[in-house]
Subunit: 394 residues, 2 copies
């Protein structure tokens, strides 16, 4: 893959990859959702890297976060500037080694990267769903992924790995389909979002819904609510960083002539950075998807929904082994929430390892290249892989 030598410091990449699609739940066999509504047909866009082995026991599922997609690694064309969002982790001889594992990454329902979501065409009307799209939950996303995994003829999942709401999906999988899941790595995740996190995501939704271009979600084919979505991203982006990383990256540096402009266009570098993050995001993400996915993450409450109020009871359904990872500077899903998860797992008799990674980069640390994170994941996968071989094929 030498043609990607300029993109990849390690000089290794899964190379050229392609989106695949799987469509199911065709009416009248629609999928039932937690809300009581039904959805179908459902298309999932997904990608795979590496090869499924003969015993079909080398499958690693990777779950993306809020604004991610199925493109976890590699390039679509030779001209692409950037590889998939977790290319530093997924590839030959990387943390999730595609020479050993068959990696599957599916775009979640509700998203805007090809899987069925509010911007998809509603077959009942011939127009985009908009707010006619039913509210979804993390469990609904997982239910759809299960259909894909069945379709691929896979019935053992060596490991499920995901950061943030990707971690929620991984955990939900382990509780919903315990016989299929051998191990899970939730990273910077939580079993339920705090009031602070819900407040922050509600502020982001209000930003979108306050934009007159949002038109109750019916903006498709007209001007999009770009100001609202950009502002939502600004707020979200702040919550993904940490005070220290923002201090180091920007401090109080000004961006013009080192003098105050005395107007409202933005004096500080951190302001123009956040404005830029907001504007860039609008080009790649759908405002309604932002509403649906943040809402799904707010709804997630594993103990309440799977354990009649008890996280221990919820985890007692699982037989998977866990490696729980948190970041010291993550204030959105702080380490305390990972520790709470680990305590419940231990009480439920689960084989769990936990590590808080010391880093200043906040919640978003899971997306950054980080040696310790890579080593922990590859080491755990290695252990799971040997145990799985010891057990023989399923």
């Amino acid at each position: 893959m030498s043609e990607y030598g300029t993109h990849d410091k390690d000089g290794i990449s899964v190379g050229i990859v392609a989106k695949k699609t799987f469509t199911f739940a065709e009416p009248p066999r629609q999928m039932s959702l937690d809300s009581g509504k039904k959805l179908g047909p459902i298309t999932l866009v997904y990608e795979t890297y590496g090869e499924l082995n003969k015993d079909r026991n080398n499958v690693v599922m990777v779950f993306h976060a809020l604004s991610g997609n199925s493109h976890a690694a590699g390039y679509y064309t030779e001209k692409d500037d950037k590889p998939g969002w977790w290319d530093n982790m997924v590839g030959p001889r990387k943390g999730i080694d595609t020479d050993k594992y068959f990696v599957v990454c599916s775009n979640i329902i509700g998203s805007c990267y090809g899987s069925t979501g509010p911007s998809s065409i509603n077959p009942a009307t011939g127009r985009a769903y908009g707010l006619d799209f039913p509210l979804i939950t993390i469990a609904d996303m997982v239910r759809a992924q299960k259909a894909l995994i069945d379709h691929l003829g896979i019935n053992k999942l060596l490991c499920l790995v995901g950061g943030s709401i990707g971690g929620m999906q991984a955990i939900e999988w382990a509780v919903s389909y315990p016989k299929m899941v051998e191990s899970v790595i939730p990273i910077a995740s939580t079993c339920k979002r705090s009031a602070l996190a819900i407040g922050l995501s509600e502020a982001q939704r209000q930003a979108i819904m306050a934009d007159p271009s949002w038109k109750d979600g019916g903006y498709y084919g007209t001007a999009i609510p770009e100001k609202g979505l950009a502002l939502a991203r600004m707020i979200g982006h702040i919550s993904y960083l940490s005070e220290d990383s923002m201090h180091r990256k920007f401090g109080r540096r000004l961006h013009e002539n080192n003098a105050f402009k005395y107007d409202f266009s933005g004096d500080f570098q951190v302001e123009s950075y956040l404005q830029y993050q907001g504007k860039k995001f609008v080009e790649r993400f759908d405002a309604n998807s932002y509403l649906y996915i943040t809402k799904a993450s707010d709804y997630f409450d594993l103990g309440e929904q799977r354990g009649r109020g008890s996280l221990v009871e919820a985890f007692s359904r699982c037989s998977a082994k866990f490696l729980v990872l948190s970041f010291s500077s993550d204030w959105l899903y702080p380490t305390a929430q990972s520790k709470e998860m680990v305590r419940a797992m231990k009480k439920a008799g689960i084989d769990v390892s936990f590590c808080e990674i010391d880093t200043d980069f906040g919640h978003d640390s899971f997306l950054l290249a980080h040696n310790q994170l890579t080593r922990l994941i590859s080491g755990f996968l290695n252990r799971m892989s040997h145990m799985s071989e010891g057990n023989g094929p399923a």
Copy 2:
């Protein structure tokens, strides 16, 4: 003041108070601002509680924060539901004892509670200033307050007390007019806002400016940018609380039938609380004032502006004694920033005491009744008062 027994747990109050006004800087004698622009005439609305003693050495200035006003204590009429914003601290036998001290609280310039700000009439046009109002700084606010204090015939200030940007004003006073200021109590304050705090206030400004009703600040006499201002307040309000206080106050409690509604109207109590805070705020605050005051707080950088980059040099101008107070759960102006201030003061040879108050209520803790806070302030004032008497009248 028995008629306020229902309002005041202690049964003591400064009673009925009245707004006073002072107008100065009449053209052509306008006040020069840090931006290089000029402003005038300037009206300050202020209130006083207690009596100025013969020696005129019992003056305590209280400074309000972003959305506060001159009404720190007491009631305007017997029918008022609520007293001034710091009534739990300011009054007879309270933390700032109006039986002993003459308390002055002035509404800052840029605000919307009577002092000259963007919603005031611009005498040059006969219409509200809007964005023709010049950008202001904390030092500009203090310069205007100095004119008021001169007008009142006061040349010694026993103590300056303020929380948040009220603390910035108190510190700026001590550096700008060192001979007048005997002591200062900055509470939950900072000598410069972090990149995180600037990012958060920029998001709040963007919320206002993205509202089409804002009309580049020219909304007076038409619909106000209520959605934008409400959202700004929501974001701000989150930053004034703490994860723990939000958890205790709301957790993940739902507000209707204890079931998800599966729509975007808000399921969780924390959502409707923040929505309510936003809506309520719109009734009492001006969107442009919000822009100007947040910008002034972002600009504040004592070391840069008063010490050629050195906080120690800035403080070496002061002769005042300091009591610096922070709150353990304040993540907007965290304790580390108060400690940085204290270290610089010590290096500058200042007599400074510091206390981090252990509380879960976040940045806004200074507005809440808190015994330790009250005792620390009253004890410090007592000490300053005795020292001042020992020195004899100025």
